[in-house]
């Protein structure tokens, strides 16, 4: 088995991974359809809790399909397309974030700069493999340049508050998310062509952690910070980390790491992702909504994409740099 896998070319290995992923998704979808058929024969309204739970699972499944498809397209079409795809997600997510942060007329030029200059430049830096510049472009240059543009607009009212929001949005939605495709740039000797595995590793581990955390939290009461999140408990958090870490250890074979370092890397990514999700929840509560999307009291008609990727936005930079410091000499 192992020698068979070793014998495959990197492309064949990644292809196999996608075949397995889509196979698993297909099985889960078929199971979901069968379950919903049985639900229908049982009669509607017999068990409301179960049917809402089934609906929950089905939306989750749909999202997973979508993400898997996006990743597959990204991988099949090459690094360039993957970077453009992530750039587009960044754009949509930043759009959601800005929609819910009140800005004033004076911010217009800085917003234009953020969307049409900062975002494309950041992804162009990833594309052209300027690893060092790409890690400092936003925190150093943009951080200092944007307020200048806003100051020139001559509007002092709530200046710091408005700017803090814009900077935050750029950090999370552009800087954070751009670290996912940047994983494709890490120079690992003897691992060329298979860096897509690293992206898969990060996403799989973080999503598993979030899912397990969500499922465990349902059975618990007395959350740690009830005013911010009704679903955050130290125990469910620990369970999520454990699940993510274990999965990371199991997936060590597809990464350049040994099992124990893989587990450690997965733990780091999961901790950053799940805590980041909590932070984004706090921001949402501050804005008076529970979801970025239309499920909550949303006036904007957002699609709620940010809800799905916020953990990734926080996990990616931490993961990227941990991998870089530890393994890249």
């Amino acid at each position: 088995m192992r020698s068979f896998l070793r014998g495959l070319s990197p492309d064949q290995q990644v292809g196999l991974l996608f075949a397995l992923l889509f196979g698993a998704l297909l099985l889960a979808t078929v199971a979901g359809v069968l379950l919903s058929l049985r639900e229908r024969t049982l009669g509607a309204g017999a068990d409301g809790v179960r049917s809402t739970r089934l609906q929950d699972v089905q939306t989750l499944l749909r999202n997973t399909w979508l993400m898997a498809l996006v990743f597959w397209v990204g991988w099949a079409a090459g690094d360039g397309v993957a970077i453009v795809l992530f750039g587009l997600v960044s754009f949509l997510v930043l759009r959601e974030f800005i929609s819910l942060s009140p800005t004033r007329r004076g911010d217009h030029r800085s917003l234009v700069l953020a969307f049409f200059v900062v975002l494309p430049v950041q992804y162009a830096l990833v594309w052209t493999q300027h690893v060092d510049l790409f890690t400092v472009f936003i925190p150093v240059y943009v951080f200092l340049a944007l307020p200048v543009v806003s100051a020139l607009a001559n509007d002092p009212q709530r200046f710091l508050e408005r700017h803090a929001k814009l900077q935050w949005g750029i950090m999370v939605c552009v800087y954070g998310l751009s670290h996912v495709p940047a994983l494709l740039l890490l120079p690992f000797p003897r691992f060329e062509g298979r860096l897509a595995f690293l992206v898969f590793f990060l996403v799989a581990v973080v999503q598993t952690c979030m899912l397990v955390q969500h499922l465990v939290a349902r059975r618990l009461s007395a959350p740690v910070a009830p005013a911010i999140s009704a679903g955050f408990h130290w125990r469910s958090w620990g369970a999520g980390l454990l699940a993510g870490g274990l999965l990371g250890g199991l997936l060590a074979g597809i990464t350049p790491f040994k099992p124990l370092p893989a587990l450690a890397m997965a733990l780091v990514a999961c901790a950053a992702g799940s805590l980041g999700h909590l932070v984004m929840k706090a921001i949402k509560r501050d804005r008076g909504v529970t979801h970025w999307g239309s499920a909550g009291r949303s006036v904007t008609g957002a699609t709620g994409l940010l809800d799905r990727v916020d953990a990734l936005c926080f996990a990616a930079p931490v993961f990227f740099h941990s991998v870089r410091w530890t393994f890249d000499r």
Binding site: L94, R95, I98, S99, F115, V299, T300, G301, A302
Partner: protein, 205 residues
């Protein structure tokens, strides 16, 4: 619609959706192909494009916006985009002689089209919409069978404030509310007041 107008409208739709999402939220009435006058708050040039983009395709083809003749027919491109793409009804801004400025709108309603109307007349910059002009009342009196659907456009003023040329991506939505009717011998001022309140009530939904 020829292929160029079709291509242009698809391009515009894609652009508006990418920038704003152009989400329609139907509260109080379903999107239905009946004769209607949509009336909304007016804060930006983009308002019209946003309502146009938020309507479903079937309704978009029978719903006509209103364009000022003196501005939108001065060049071939402007005439083409308002005429072929938006299928707009042209109105005179300045009253010429004793011609009724509402006559083109009435002609459009008589032929069965729906209209998009901004009863404030001009773009407002305050939080609340300005008092409504009486055009809506006159049309409602002449065409009592046409549904009057209020709409509130969220966020558009953030996309492109006055004097800026580059739009910023911000999610916008159009909320359509419950249709109102002109009561029997309801005075004009009362009706316009009520219509404005109906539009403003959609703001906090």
């Amino acid at each position: 619609m020829d292929w160029r107008a079709k291509a242009m409208s698809l391009l515009l739709l894609g652009f508006v959706r990418l920038l704003t999402g152009a989400q329609a939220r139907w509260h109080g009435c379903p999107p239905k192909a009946e004769q209607r006058i949509y009336f909304a708050n007016h804060q930006s040039h983009a308002d019209l494009v946003l309502i146009w983009a938020a309507l479903p395709t079937e309704l978009r083809s029978i719903t006509r916006p209103i364009a000022a003749r003196d501005y939108w027919t001065t060049s071939r491109f402007k005439r083409w985009i308002t005429g072929a793409v938006f299928n707009a009804v042209y109105v005179e801004r300045e009253r010429k002689g004793d011609e009724d400025p509402l006559a083109p709108l009435m002609a459009a309603l008589e032929s069965g089209d729906s209209l998009i109307l901004f009863p404030e007349g001009t773009r407002g910059h305050a939080e609340d919409p300005q008092p409504f002009k009486s055009g809506l009342y006159n049309l409602a009196r002449q065409f009592p069978e046409v549904m009057l659907v209020p709409a509130w456009i969220h966020n558009v003023q953030r996309v492109m404030p006055k004097g800026e040329v580059v739009p910023v991506p911000v999610l916008c939505s159009v909320t359509f509310g419950e249709p109102i009717r002109l009561g029997p011998d309801e005075p004009r001022a009362d009706f316009l007041q009520r219509a404005r309140a109906a539009v403003m009530a959609l703001r906090d939904l």
